[in-house]
């Protein structure tokens, strides 16, 4: 009976996910083609050409990533990998649980393919800015006629500071890989950390970790990964990666060391190096609520000698602003009483024409008159 209730609960969660989050989800995709110099276990160093695709579906409570990569090292040596990752969290605003699933398939010429599937359940604490999660997972891996189970204990934490993101994780894994990968069951503990910087057109990441293997391999080993992405055009980016990864007994991927460059193409537009930086000399308007009644209005116009404001909350009467440091504010300080919501504004610099602040949406009141639309919180 309890099992039936639990099952019904998760079906309801999936249903609410579908109804509230699915149709509003964001979909992002990209194609990637590149070249790398790589070395894999039992394979001499060589050049490789690769092509891949990734689709991300981002919903309010769920996330899916499907990714595939094919790589050609020689005429007779190919590798291919496809993976699917999914996550589901509890209801906002403070979900305490998270479910993850992953499925993958790895194949290479002259070797048996490996297919794996895993799931994990975590209890989580904190927000998207900083938090931690602990959980347990398990699954299976199939290579040829051999099926091995996998059990995991997982923990991770994350912290965002502006454009910087820091993550750390630890885990314990026990698995029974095929004899081709390891002579017996393998147990190991992992500790890893990573940093990512994402700002505008650039993304940089460094991550690495240590593996402490209690059976079936070297006692201590490590892995490192560095990547950089630069969007040089709204739909194209240059990606540089280099790293040294360990053998993945569950997914069947060998130990690999590589350095590569690739071109990423995306149908979604990104901020890019090609874009002009905003002209900071154009006047901009910002509003901040001081208290329940009053709002501070600031206009940034670094080269102005006089600045005036006209808005629905001034009954369309121009008011002169006074300079306060690097910005212009309503004279006398203390803000103005302005209701929350949408307001129309217009500004005039040095007695010139009335214009829309450069950072606000423009609404035309007539063919000759436009106003900026500002949301007052």
């Amino acid at each position: 009976m309890r099992r039936a209730r639990l099952f019904s609960y998760f079906i309801c969660q999936l249903g609410s996910l579908a109804s509230s989050g699915f149709l509003g989800a964001q979909v992002e995709s990209s194609l990637e083609i590149g070249a790398s110099r790589l070395r894999q276990a039992n394979v001499p160093s060589g050049n490789s050409f690769s092509g891949g695709a990734t689709i991300d579906w981002l919903g309010e409570r769920g996330q899916l990533r499907a990714t595939a990569l094919a790589s050609r090292q020689t005429e007779s040596r190919w590798t291919g990998q496809a993976a699917l990752f999914g996550s589901l969290i509890g209801n906002s605003p403070s979900p305490w649980w998270q479910l993850d699933v992953a499925a993958s398939n790895y194949a290479q010429t002259s070797a048996l393919p490996t297919t794996s599937a895993e799931g994990a359940a975590r209890a989580r604490l904190g927000s998207g800015l900083r938090g931690a999660a602990l959980g347990l997972g398990g699954g299976a891996s199939v290579t040829g006629g051999h099926t091995g189970g996998v059990q995991r204990a997982l923990g991770d934490g994350w912290w965002m500071l502006g454009p910087e993101r820091f993550v750390a994780s630890f885990g314990w894994t026990h698995t029974s890989p095929p004899k081709a990968f390891a002579p017996s069951a393998v147990s190991y503990a992992d500790a890893a950390g990573g940093w990512r910087h994402e700002a505008g057109a650039l993304s940089l990441g460094i991550s690495g970790g240590f593996r402490f293997q209690s059976s079936g391999g070297p006692d201590v080993d490590s892995w490192q990964l560095v990547d950089g992405t630069a969007w040089f055009a709204p739909h194209a980016a240059l990606v540089l990666t280099a790293g040294r990864t360990l053998a993945d007994y569950v997914r069947g991927t060998p130990r690999t060391t590589w350095a590569g460059v690739s071109l990423r193409l995306s149908p979604s537009a990104h901020f890019s190096l090609a874009h002009r930086t905003p002209d900071r000399s154009l006047p901009r308007l910002a509003v901040t609520r001081i208290n329940a009644e009053r709002v501070e209005i600031e206009i940034t116009a670094p080269n102005a000698a006089t600045v005036e404001l006209m808005a629905d909350f001034t009954e369309w009467q121009p008011i002169k602003l006074e300079r306060a440091g690097g910005v212009w504010r309503v004279a006398g300080g203390g803000g103005r009483p302005i209701t929350s919501g949408l307001h129309r504004v217009s500004i005039r610099v040095d007695g010139g024409p009335w214009t829309v602040p450069s950072n606000l949406p423009r609404a035309d009141a007539s063919p000759d008159a436009s106003f900026g639309l500002v949301t007052v919180p």
Partner: protein, 219 residues
Amino acid sequence: MRRAGLVACCFALHAAAAQDSLRFSGPDAETSRQVSQIIESAVAAGLPASQIVAKANLAVLVRAPGPRIVETARAVAGRLEVARRSIMPHELPNDIVNAEEALSYNVPTDILRQISKASPKAPIAVPLSVLTQLVVTRVPVDRAGQIVLAMLRRGATPAQLQALGNGVDADVRLLGAAALDAANLRYKNLNPFLAPMPASAANADNLGLSSSPTGPKKP
């Protein structure tokens, strides 16, 4: 006696100020008369008639002809009634005013109802305002509604909503791309600051289910 007189005087002054805020003076007597009638009807219906005055004044400011001003006032009055019905049980005049603004940019009443339901207790002026800004920036209205609703459900603060609405137009001009892409990017960048999303796929495959990275980085 003197105190009662003082209190009565204060009430009278307040009522006079409120009446003043609903006074409209148009470019000619006939326009003023017609718009004043519309205002009186709205007041009698319990609608926030200050919005009619505000938009009529705006029409005067841009030198619209008299008939156009009257037409504007009438349209606003009609939308205020629709707005009030659409966002029930929200009744705050400011909420109704902002719902009218959204309707004036052809936001469907369905989306207003959903926003009202998504925030049953808190005022909804700010999310409605942001919705209008997104639509004015040419974000498709359905997507604009989805973004605002998602942010409401994830506990976005008025300041976070404001940051989306006040910034997306500048992004459109900077990106030189579709408003939809700019809105999606802004919303995505707000993700970590809203109620938690699942660990990103990068986290999941790098550090979660597997302790060494997989995916496209691995040849």
